[in-house]
């Protein structure tokens, strides 16, 4: 085959900044004194609580049930007593209902014994059910319930599973360490997914800046399956689903459609490992691997963190904040959400905690747009951010719909390259919020 460049068009090259935690092996931290588990940690309806204040729970117990198919249950990530079910700061910036558990200090944190059926004996439907019961959601950030992706509608012909190990966000090394330290788990998860979807072909895309991860995944490749590893050009946002599909298969997901419309299911390596864990140990998704990094943290590292750990305690375990810590971001610095409080819990979908220093967050001066066109050259979905930005600034929100505002992934490439420092991506977030409000108003009036 001709040496086709394994990448997509446009995009940007931010500094990788991964050296802080690249060499840090994954470590486990002591359990915190309190765990806070929001009922909404996923895309879809919030879960329905099954416990009440005062109930004793054991690690791994289901404490909230999924509300319908596009929803996910919540499990206790530590043994202890339910303190309350109340509003608590959520990483999205609002207050949401959450189950607070006082962790029992003297507990061995052992889960209840359980029967783990062998996955090969299960039908696809039963596997989907087990994955939903395990509370598995996309661990790459979007937290879309994984079992929904595993049960495509009958008319969708899926021919390829793509495993996303790009980790194109600067600073983060979560997926990197999952691949280099638990490659067998990734392969087992993939095997189960291939069995469930009845798909014969799988591709694992990894950016070239993680040679040891590529090496580890290659060394453990199963010989009986058509699974291939593809080192990809280091470019942001290579890990965006649509860009990854484009890079590996040269297929373009139609505007407004999903990967399954072009016959592909994309899963993050973390979700893959989480599926494997359900069938290895029977434990649901109650902990995840998180990179805690940035110039604002004393001792950055990669950790196994019980879901629901408060970010403040996690940072404390990393030696605390430095003098010039200024902004805490969940996820990577390009698309991550800023946090206003140290009480916010780590959710299933939090890939990393990046603490930026005062130097990195220094406000920079904005200039008028000089129409250089750099944003058009950066936009991976071929929008015209310059025009969209002018519309947004003028408050012409409804006009932006025709200019494809909903195709924007909010990847931030345009803001990153803009020499006039116009907050384009930020403006688009505002625009979309305004549009949603307008829609809500219209449907209320109708």
């Amino acid at each position: 085959m001709a040496a086709r460049r394994r990448t997509f068009r446009h995009g940007v090259h931010p500094p990788e900044l991964k050296e802080l935690t690249e060499a840090e092996k994954i470590r486990r931290l002591p359990f915190p004194d309190e765990i806070v588990l929001p009922l909404s940690q996923h895309t879809g309806k919030p879960a329905i609580p099954l416990v009440a204040a005062g109930d004793k729970v054991q690690r791994g117990d289901k404490i909230a049930e999924a509300d319908g198919f596009i929803s996910s249950p919540v499990h206790a990530s530590a043994s202890g007593t339910v303190k309350a079910i109340e509003l608590w700061p959520h990483p999205d910036g609002t207050y949401k209902r959450a189950i607070r558990i006082a962790v029992d200090r003297y507990s061995a944190q052992a889960p209840r014994p359980r029967i783990v059926p062998h996955w090969e004996g299960l039908s696809p439907k039963e596997i989907v059910k087990a994955v939903q019961d395990g509370g598995v959601v996309g661990l790459g950030g979007a937290a879309f319930p994984t079992h929904v992706k595993l049960s495509p509608p009958d008319d969708a012909k899926i021919d390829t599973i793509i495993i996303n190990g790009c980790e194109c966000e600067p600073y983060l090394t979560t997926d990197h360490h999952i691949m280099s330290e638990y490659p067998e788990r990734v392969h087992l998860g993939l095997r189960i997914m291939m069995h469930t979807l009845g798909v014969d072909r799988a591709m694992i895309g990894i950016e070239k800046n993680k040679p040891d991860a590529i090496e580890a995944i290659r060394a453990t490749l199963p010989s009986d399956l058509d699974v291939t590893v593809h080192p990809l050009t280091v470019k942001y946002p290579q890990g965006a689903e649509k860009m990854l599909i484009r890079a590996l298969l040269h297929r373009e997901v139609p505007s407004g459609k999903l990967p399954m419309n072009v016959g592909v299911v994309v899963q993050n390596v973390g979700s893959c490992a989480a599926i494997a864990e359900i069938f290895e140990t029977g434990l649901p998704l109650i902990e995840r691997i998180v990179t805690v990094t940035g110039l604002g943290v004393e001792r950055p590292g990669n950790f196994i963190v019980p879901v629901g750990t408060k970010v403040g305690e996690l940072i404390e375990a990393c030696g605390g904040l430095t003098e010039d810590a200024h902004e805490i971001v969940f996820g990577g610095p390009m698309m991550g959400a800023p946090q206003a409080s140290l009480d916010v819990p780590i959710l299933k979908g939090v890939t990393g905690v990046v603490v930026l220093s005062k130097d990195e967050t220094k406000p920079k001066e904005s200039y008028p747009c000089i129409r250089c066109g750099h944003c058009l050259d950066a936009c991976p979905v071929f929008l015209n951010p310059q025009l969209l930005g002018q519309m947004a600034l003028a408050g012409l929100y409804e006009e932006t719909v025709d200019a494809h505002i909903w195709d924007c992934m909010l990847c931030g490439c345009c803001s990153y390259v803009c020499p006039s420092n116009i907050p384009l991506s930020q403006l688009f977030q505002v625009t979309r919020t305004q549009l949603r409000r307008l829609q809500a108003k219209e449907s209320a009036a109708a």
């Binding site: 700061p89 409080s341 008028p368 000089i370």
Partner: protein
């Protein structure tokens, strides 16, 4: 419960290194060798012309522009470029007036940086061409060493300089147009010809332009498409009737190099899309050839660029990028 220690801003939280002042000051820096060459070829008079055009532009920006807008360097570029397109023996007061007009009417009136439709430097020059047609087409013969200043340079506002001792010469384009004479390509490349202060050395301008293109401070598609368009059209005409000039002569004479590398690539007044830039450059090239070969003037770069500037909004509209996922269904292999 939000913690006042922490900043909360929308993503992305990283910012690339390029800034508008960095771009502008790099352009200024890349003009330094060209200004030095103007001094080398035409003496201190040419430097004074550039200086007074720049003074006109900068002072106007300072007085009429937004507070602090001088720091972005764009007014300085306008002044320098205008000065470089003027004859070395041009009266200084006229150069100053051109700088004022370019900034005041070409930029401030539209709303400042980023809002203007036309290249301010060229608008200033177009004004001067209309107001002082004789002065702007008087090309002094290089003579008298570096410290020699032409008498016209120092003429007082609205006064005729009277009888002067300046020996005038013709530019290569003028010779071609009115006498049918060609010029040695080597002279055109190096710049030892008569012409505007900063337009004579095609080689030097290209080097400076390539530097800017390599750092992505100008869109290389614009100069490249202008050159292709001029070369192809001229070659065609030359092939049909060899009394017309050759492509090499057309490319390296007059203001084409400065226009293609510095004027047409002005980000504000060129298209934002790459496809638009190709069309823009092709249009500029075609108009240059038409004006030079069949128009009344020997040189047409200025009008060609100004005309295409007016088309930029349409070029942008016609060449909007096709959004990912709406293009023709690609082979789903």
């Amino acid at each position: 419960m939000s913690d006042p220690r922490f900043l909360v801003t929308a993503s992305p939280h990283l910012k690339g290194p390029a800034t508008t002042p960095v771009i502008m000051w790099n352009v200024v820096g890349s003009l330094v060798p060209i200004i030095a060459a103007a001094g080398f070829f035409f003496g201190v008079g040419a430097l004074l012309v550039v200086a007074s055009a720049t003074a006109g532009a900068v002072i106007t920006e300072r007085v009429l522009g937004k507070k602090g807008s001088l720091l972005d360097g764009s007014a300085l570029i306008t002044g320098l470029l205008l000065g470089l397109t003027l004859p070395p023996g041009f009266p200084l007061w006229m150069a100053f007036l051109g700088g004022f007009f370019g900034i005041a009417f070409g930029k401030i009136l539209f709303g400042g940086l980023g809002q203007n439709m036309f290249n301010p430097a060229l608008l200033g020059r177009a004004f001067l061409q209309a107001a002082f047609p004789v002065a702007i087409t008087t090309w002094p013969e290089r003579a008298g060493g570096f410290w020699h200043i032409n008498a016209e340079n120092l003429s007082l506002p609205f006064m005729s300089a009277g009888e002067t001792d300046t020996v005038t010469g013709a530019t290569p384009l003028g010779q071609m147009k009115f006498e049918g004479l060609g010029t040695d390509t080597m002279d055109l490349l190096l710049g030892s010809i008569s012409g505007s202060a900063g337009e004579t050395s095609a080689l030097l301008i290209t080097l400076c332009g390539v530097y800017l293109a390599a750092r992505n401070f100008l869109n290389w598609r614009i100069p490249v498409s202008i050159f292709i368009s001029v070369a192809v059209l001229t070659a065609l005409v030359h092939f049909l009737d060899s009394s017309y000039p050759t492509p090499t002569f057309m490319l390296f004479s007059g203001g084409l190099m400065l226009g293609a590398w510095y004027m047409a690539t002005d980000m504000v007044t060129s298209p934002v899309t790459n496809k638009g830039c190709w069309l823009f450059g092709a249009g500029v090239g075609a108009l240059v050839v038409i004006i030079r070969l069949w128009g009344g003037l020997p040189e047409g770069v200025m009008y060609a660029i100004l005309f295409m500037n007016a088309l930029v909004p349409y070029l942008n509209r016609w060449t909007q990028p096709k959004v990912f996922g709406t293009r023709t269904r690609e082979a789903t292999s």
